[in-house]
């Protein structure tokens, strides 16, 4: 918060209510010695909400919560307040977002069209200082957070125009999707492959992620061959949009800002479509749909049903979105940070399984 901004704010307030001089003056004197960049207005920025458990590794603490309950969990957190958490699966993604912001600021110093990462956790604020200390330790640029103390974060996501929400809790993710917010459940790979620090890479599955699940229904009902046939026959009919179309759109908007300054080859954002569709038949419909939406995707990989893990291992995205747990788990096994988008027909079978697996989880 720059000094001039707070002076303006208190100038306005002085005219409306003389009594406010006290704390307004104080907040101007309070300006920290190191200048901090001002956060963009939520409506201008691309807001990414991340939960504490995906940003940082809180496995040990999660375990304490599950085994010993809330009070012990909080006690442990407070006792270890000065010990920063180590990075979680979303960490490298967040760092890459910041790298893009740095490049954007160089080219467009006055623009607020930047990524804004918000820590959105339903952790209790007693854990707050440890989280703040950790953000400081890792030098992350996260100035906004909501620690809801057990209440649902969904309302806050909506209030601040969140473009993407990442959490370890599938229940919250589903709630967010139902409210029209792009969201995905992030899984932690056992071993994370190294990713670029300078170029943000985002990989998307097609059906039920970028596109609606209409074609996926055909696949589920009649198998892969019928799916290919159907798609070829309807190749000129646009697919409906899926939950992550908006996020791809936001990425595309930023990419165009780099292209406008002649940086197409060196663009710090790269997008990938990794789909079971085949180039020969069903791929065309996907590409035509994207084109009609005015969206570009840098690389489209049509696997014709082959497993996605090895391809993703080559691409090394910071994040990969898929609606099928099978693909998400396969990708995670090979070191990719993969997120499950619990949307569409693929969830109906999964719901029964996850209901058994789902244990009550700690605040994230």
């Amino acid at each position: 918060m720059s000094l001039s901004n707070s002076l303006t704010a208190s100038g306005q307030d002085l005219t409306s209510s003389g009594n406010r001089v006290g704390w307004e003056e104080a907040s101007t004197v309070l300006k920290p010695s190191t200048p901090t960049r001002k956060s963009p207005k939520p409506e201008n920025a691309i807001t990414i909400g991340v939960s504490a458990r995906v940003l940082f590794n809180m496995e040990k603490e999660q375990h304490i919560y599950e085994q010993q309950g809330m009070e012990e969990y909080i006690k442990y957190q407070v006792e270890h307040e000065t010990q920063p958490f180590s990075p979680g699966p979303a960490f490298s993604f967040v760092k890459a977002l910041e790298a893009v912001n740095t490049r954007l600021r160089e080219l467009y110093p006055d623009s607020e069209e930047l990524f804004d990462v918000v820590l959105m956790t339903n952790n209790h604020a007693y854990v707050g200082l440890r989280l703040i200390n950790t953000i400081n330790h890792h030098e992350l640029f996260i100035e906004r957070f909501c620690m809801t103390g057990g209440n649902s974060p969904i309302g806050y996501l909506k209030a601040y125009h969140t473009n993407l929400y990442l959490s370890a809790d599938p229940v919250k993710v589903r709630e967010a999707l139902e409210e029209g917010i792009a969201a995905a459940t992030m899984f932690t790979p056992e071993k994370m492959t190294e990713v670029s620090e300078t170029q943000l890479r985002v990989a998307f599955d097609g059906d039920a992620v970028l596109f609606s699940d209409e074609s996926e229904r055909i696949y589920k009902a009649h198998g892969l061959d019928k799916f290919f046939e159907h798609e070829k026959a309807h190749e000129n009919k646009l697919l409906d949009h899926g939950p992550l179309k908006g996020f791809l759109e936001a990425l595309g908007k930023l990419q165009k800002k780099f292209y406008a300054k002649g940086q197409r080859m060196d663009c710090p954002i790269r997008t990938y479509l990794v789909t079971a569709r085949s180039a020969a038949s069903s791929g065309t419909r996907a590409l035509k749909t994207l084109r009609s939406w005015g969206l570009e995707i840098d690389e489209a990989l049509f696997l014709a049903g082959a497993p996605k893990g090895p391809m993703l291992e080559k691409i090394r995205p910071h994040i990969f979105f898929d609606d099928q747990l099978f693909h998400v788990e396969g990708a995670a096994e090979m070191g990719t940070v993969a997120c499950h988008v619990p949307y569409g027909i693929a969830q109906r079978v999964i719901k029964r399984e996850t209901h058994d697996k789902e244990t009550s989880s700690a605040p994230k």
């Binding site: 918060m1 704390w23 309070l30 007693y126 400081n136 806050y156």
Partner: protein, 274 residues
């Protein structure tokens, strides 16, 4: 209990202004040292549609219910608990003063536990606050709240809220908590610190989950570092925070309906919608 049969304590002043305090014998009077005295104006409590015999409830009603719930839960844990909220109803409106028995009976009708009723003039009400050892004064009238604050009484403005919560939710403004060493401290600062400490003690009677009161910190313009400082400062005053929101310049109004505070504590007097 009727006004006529109640015990009255009258303070006479030179100009024959009177400040009258009536104790409500239906309600157990709190231990003077243990209780946290909260004063509410009757204008804030009774502002709704009136029946013939009974006044309708206003903005302060859900708050008083929430205070009562906290007391109930405290007494459940320890029947001998003395750290309880003690509610005093202040009437400065001369019209309402003429209906003092109506005020008392309306209070009872709505099931509210008010331990003392104070009737004073607009000029004298601060004296009522001081003599009744009021630790928090709540009003819907900004000028009243400002006056009290300038005389050192911690005051807060009550605004109309959306669906009020059952849980007592106290919001603190983080930007106001963080202080530089230089500069004049607001007159109500000592009162704010002492109230925070007692509120914190009360909060600690309960666990992290299922508490009848919640302390909510909102830092509107400050960054995460100032929020961290606010958390540490409040902790040093004995007040633990349950929920923390650092907005770094984002507007507060979109989340006020989610936060649902009963009132906002700052330095000086700040309304929820400010």
């Amino acid at each position: 209990m009727s006004v006529d049969s109640a015990r009255e304590t009258l303070y006479h002043r030179g100009e024959a202004d009177m400040v009258a305090t009536i104790q409500n014998t239906d309600v157990k009077q709190e231990d003077a040292h243990g209780a946290v005295v909260v004063a509410v104006t009757s204008r804030a409590l009774f502002g709704g549609d009136d029946d013939d015999d009974v006044s309708g409830v206003g903005v302060a009603f859900p708050l008083l219910q929430a205070l009562q719930r906290v007391n109930q839960r405290l007494l459940e844990k320890d029947p001998a608990e003395s750290l309880l909220f003690d509610v005093v109803l202040i009437t400065t409106d001369s019209q309402q003063q003429q209906q003092s028995s109506r005020i008392v009976s309306s209070t009872r009708h709505h099931g509210l536990e008010v331990s003392r009723f104070c009737f004073s003039s607009q000029e004298d009400f601060i004296e009522s606050l001081l003599t009744n050892n009021v630790q928090l004064f709540l009003s819907t009238d900004r000028n009243e709240a400002l006056q009290a604050s300038q005389q050192g009484v911690l005051s807060a403005l009550l605004d109309r809220q959306g669906a009020p919560s059952e849980q007592l939710r106290v919001m603190l403004c983080g930007d106001a908590v963080v202080r530089p060493d230089a500069g004049p401290a607001p007159v109500s600062r000592p009162a704010a610190e002492s109230f925070s400490s007692r509120l914190g003690e009360m909060r600690r009677r309960f666990g992290a989950l299922d508490s009848p009161l919640s302390i909510v910190l909102v830092t509107s313009s400050g960054d995460r570092e100032s929020c961290g400082v606010a958390l540490r400062t409040l902790r040093s005053r004995g007040l633990g925070v349950d929920e923390a929101y650092c907005l770094a310049g984002a507007p507060r109004s979109p989340i006020l309906s989610l936060l649902r505070p009963h009132f906002l504590l700052g330095d000086g007097v700040i309304g929820l919608e400010d």
